[in-house]
């Protein structure tokens, strides 16, 4: 390109003070952004990609970060070239929101909850354009239309909590665009959103780039998003740039080892056709070799029938139930021995509630759960507690699921103590052996959770769930918050354990690509119901329900030839699962399109 770069960053170094020595979050980072391009800044957590973008806005200083070296040259609208590292606050205020706009990861919290949408939208206009009253309102409306928000006039009077997440993100985008900035920084703009909403927002951003001509710095951890959006890509790892180039070059001919590892670890949807069972993930130096594979049995382990769970919404003078959230509605499925059934769906679809009900962490309202020979719902609490030896759970949040105040040994040993299975040194030996199984050194037994990384924590959580030799594990978004390379390792661990120990998993996830990789069978949930259930291949290769289809279509592909612009920009309205108190839903009826492949009627 012969164009002058809009931004050129040179040998940037950012430090944060900490307990002992300052932490260097970013070192020796340099790249350029050209007008009108989308530059993808990719990296896993801790790679320094967000800090880099914040340094550009001088926002790091508010969190004690210091730019200790380098320059951040930015070509302003009037053509002058400013080093943003040395710009004073006055200049920065003039640039922020005016010449550089910013979009954030979590739209719900990025908006001020106590100010109306209209007020927040027009604030930038008031500051930078001196608009007020009618003209600001007119411009706000215009912006909302531009980001394709339905009923924009009404939105102006609303507060953020009255809008859905996708809608909020559109507002944030509108805000960032208000003063027609020359650079838009989008920091993980879709990470907190459901996959269908993500597709819409990505399409919107791509379209706006075309309309406004603004350059976009897209920060993300998701290679597929980069593939669909970016023109050029910068890959960061531990505060440094490891590779940069055009999107095709990075995806097809990665040069750096880290980039290769990263790309290898990403599950790609559709690459499982032809396989029947789950398949290990590729990790560095391992292209997915098949060793032991879990072959699902035909013997029933868990049989869930007509499971229903509603949460009452109380109100009125006496706090009566005025409505119900139908979280799980007439759900039935079977999990066989040594099989992985995935429950897949977007947020609010009831998949986690279903998992909790099976473990009786929530008490279901209706239904029957047969586990082996036991009707779980008829068991008394103490008996149920002892049943938990057989069925265990791994939760999503590796930081929250371990008690920060207990040593790992005590945490993992706790089930043994709860069930009074072993005493004395036998306990520690048993914990050590399970630690070995999940690939953790024995020396970690005396550590506290805070001394572990996220992946290590999740291994400990798995170890804890395995200590009682259960036959069934509910994995509730067990890998969702892990970086993709770690995620691959943990998934492999889980699959290995399944093959070795004959475990059955109920794998709850929103990530279609991961689900495709690990499942024998898949159930798609929407609004509390299972809309389609069947073998993995029938769901992924022959989806029948509209929702399943749209879900699959929305998953971003690792293919730079499929551009986000092609997606629909309009937002689908999501139906609320809240029904008035007396509402009687129809029972679920299914069409059997092929053996074991059921699709919800209607």
């Amino acid at each position: 390109m012969t164009l002058e770069p809009l931004v050129s960053i040179e040998s940037l170094r950012v430090e944060f003070p900490s307990k002992d020595e300052p932490v260097v979050a970013v070192k020796d980072v340099g790249f350029e952004i050209f007008p009108g391009e989308i530059l993808g800044l990719v990296g896993e957590s801790g790679s320094g990609k967000s800090v880099t973008s914040q340094a550009l806005m001088q926002l790091t200083k508010f969190s004690a970060g210091q730019v200790t070296r380098g320059s951040l040259n930015f070509v302003r609208r009037d053509g002058s070239n400013t080093d943003l590292r040395h710009a004073d606050e006055q200049q920065m205020r003039d640039i922020r929101g005016n010449e550089i706009g910013m979009i954030f990861q979590e739209p719900m919290v990025a908006l001020n909850p106590s100010l109306t949408i209209g007020w927040q939208l027009s604030e930038g206009l008031r500051i930078h354009r001196g608009l007020s009253g009618k003209s600001a309102r007119r411009r706000s409306l215009e912006l909302l239309r531009k980001v394709r928000i339905p009923e924009p006039a009404q939105r102006l009077r609303q507060y953020p909590h009255e809008l859905s997440g996708g809608m909020c993100q559109r507002v944030v985008i509108a805000m960032a665009l208000a003063c027609e900035p020359r650079l838009l920084i989008a920091d993980e703009p879709t990470t907190a959103l459901d996959v269908t909403v993500q597709a819409e927002i990505l399409a919107l951003i791509a379209m706006l780039r075309r309309e406004t001509g603004a350059a976009i710095l897209l920060i993300t951890h998701d290679m597929a998003v980069v593939a669909q959006m970016a023109d050029r890509v910068v890959v960061m790892y531990r505060g440094q740039i490891v590779e940069h180039g055009s999107v095709r070059q990075i995806l097809h001919r990665p040069e750096h080892d880290y980039t290769r590892t990263l790309l290898a670890a990403v599950p790609r949807i559709g690459e499982m056709s032809g396989y029947s069972g789950p398949r290990r993930m590729r990790t560095a130096g391992n292209s997915g070799k098949r060793d032991k594979e879990a072959v699902s049995g035909r013997e029933r382990l868990l049989d869930v029938r007509n499971l229903t769970k509603r949460f009452p919404v109380r109100g009125g003078l006496l706090g009566r139930t005025i409505a119900n959230v139908h979280a799980v509605e007439d759900v039935s499925f079977v999990v066989n021995v040594n099989e992985t059934l995935s429950l897949v769906g977007e947020s609010g679809s009831g998949k986690s509630t279903a998992g909790n009900c099976i473990l009786r962490l929530e008490e279901p309202d209706k239904g029957r759960i047969m586990f082996k020979e036991h009707d779980l719902l008829s068991l008394s609490r103490p008996v149920m507690r002892s049943m938990r030896r057989e069925m265990q759970v791994v939760f999503q949040d590796p930081y929250g699921s371990l008690n920060p105040q207990l040593r790992l040994l005590d945490q993992v040993a706790e089930p043994i103590r709860n069930h009074k299975l072993e005493t004395g040194t036998a306990v520690e030996d048993r914990v050590a052996s399970i630690f070995k199984k999940v690939g953790m050194p024995r020396s970690f037994l005396r550590r506290y959770p805070s001394e572990l990384s996220g992946g290590q924590r999740q291994r400990v959580a798995i170890a804890r769930s395995l200590i009682l030799n259960p036959s069934f594990i509910v994995a509730d978004e067990a890998v969702s918050s892990l970086d993709v390379t770690i995620q691959a390792q943990v998934l492999n661990l889980m699959m290995d354990l399944q093959a070795e120990l004959g475990l059955s998993y109920l794998f709850i996830s929103h990530d279609m690509a991961v689900v495709e990789r690990v499942s024998h069978r898949v159930a798609v949930m929407y609004q509390g119901r299972i809309v389609e259930i069947g073998s993995r291949s029938s769901i992924f290769e022959d989806p029948r329900h509209d929702y399943t289809k749209s879900l699959l279509a929305a998953v971003p592909r690792m293919n730079p030839d499929i551009r986000a612009e092609a997606m629909a920009v309009t937002s689908a309205t999501v139906e609320s699962p809240i029904r008035p108190a007396g509402y009687k839903p129809d029972p679920c009826r299914y069409d059997e399109v092929s053996p074991d492949h059921l699709v919800l009627q209607g």
Binding site: M57, F62, R93, G319
Partner: protein
């Protein structure tokens, strides 16, 4: 609306329980007539007061009568002149209705509370905001120390010191009593020390909380000036805990001004309570406590109501 009805219902129940507790406990402290008239009183005088006040009836009958009267807004009459009642045997005809006595004292207490809060709220909020806007700065340190000093000081001690210094040594202000504006300054300052401290503390921590939220970064990214972020964006969101604290402190002022009113001879409800306690004037004690409890309930309702004004997210009546 339903929420307020439910709250009001709860509050009424609470008030009834409070009054009942005070009534029954008050009957447990021996002979109210003897406490009122002192050990030198003759049996005839005692008996007369007991008869007139209905103290000879069984306690449940007294209680039913008392609650029955309460429903008609009748809190009874003060024992104060009770011993001297004649020709009528009936205290009600001649005694002063206690509710009138209590209500007569309210304006003084309100004035004191209003001035104290009028000083404390703006000052406390401002101090808290300044401290939160520059965390760990010298200003923050000073605010923190002042705030902590305000909550740590013994009110009556501070009052005594202020009297000695401002009223006696300098002679700038009166030592106490009720009258013009200059009378209210010292007691109000004494009372304001604690709310200033507590409001500054809560404002500071609520503001720090808010200033760390992503929407502040959004605002910064929009190019909003820092002081606007502080006062417009963050302060409004920090308002709920601040208002709660203000409500708490206002309640405390209405009930806890006893010491300050005593020291400054401020004829408010606190002074009345301490006087009626030393005189064992049970109907007056009951009415004072009931009125103060009602005030606290009203303050709490006002606080609840103002939540809604400042925070659109709060839907009253929904329970988490």
């Amino acid at each position: 609306m339903a929420y307020y009805l439910r709250r009001a219902g709860n509050s009424l129940l609470l008030l009834l329980l409070t009054v009942s507790f005070v009534f029954i406990a008050g009957r447990m402290i021996g002979d109210p007539a003897l406490n009122m008239l002192g050990p030198g009183a003759s049996e005839v005088a005692l008996e007369k007061l007991r008869r007139a006040a209905g103290l000879n009836d069984p306690i449940w009958l007294q209680y039913i009568r008392y609650v029955g009267n309460l429903l008609t807004g009748d809190f009874g009459v003060s024992y104060r002149f009770g011993y001297s009642v004649l020709p009528s045997e009936d205290l009600d005809e001649i005694g002063q209705p206690v509710i009138d006595i209590v209500i007569e004292r309210l304006p003084a207490t309100f004035l004191l509370a209003a001035v104290a809060m009028g000083v404390a709220v703006p000052l406390g909020v401002l101090m808290g905001v300044v401290a939160a806007a520059h965390p760990r700065s010298v200003a923050d340190r000073i605010v923190t120390i002042i705030a902590l000093a305000g909550v740590s000081v013994v009110q009556f001690w501070l009052g005594l010191m202020l009297i000695v210094f401002f009223a006696v040594q300098l002679g700038w202000l009166p030592t106490g009593g009720y009258g013009g504006f200059h009378h209210v300054i010292l007691p109000a300052l004494t009372l304001a020390a604690r709310p200033i401290g507590r409001i500054a503390q809560i404002t500071r921590s609520a503001m720090l909380d808010e200033m760390s939220k992503p929407y502040v970064v959004t605002a910064r990214a929009k190019g909003v000036r820092e002081w606007q972020i502080v006062f417009v964006h963050a302060l409004k969101n920090a308002a709920v805990p601040i208002i709660t604290m203000i409500g708490d402190e206002l309640s405390a002022l209405l009930t806890g001004a006893i010491l300050v009113e005593k020291i400054f001879a401020w004829p408010g409800i606190g002074l009345l309570i301490i006087d009626s306690l030393t005189r064992s004037d049970l109907p007056l004690i009951q009415a004072s406590i009931a009125v103060v409890a009602t005030l606290v309930v009203v303050v709490n309702l006002m606080v609840d109501f103002s939540y809604r004004l400042v925070n659109p997210r709060i839907k009253l009546g929904t329970r988490a």
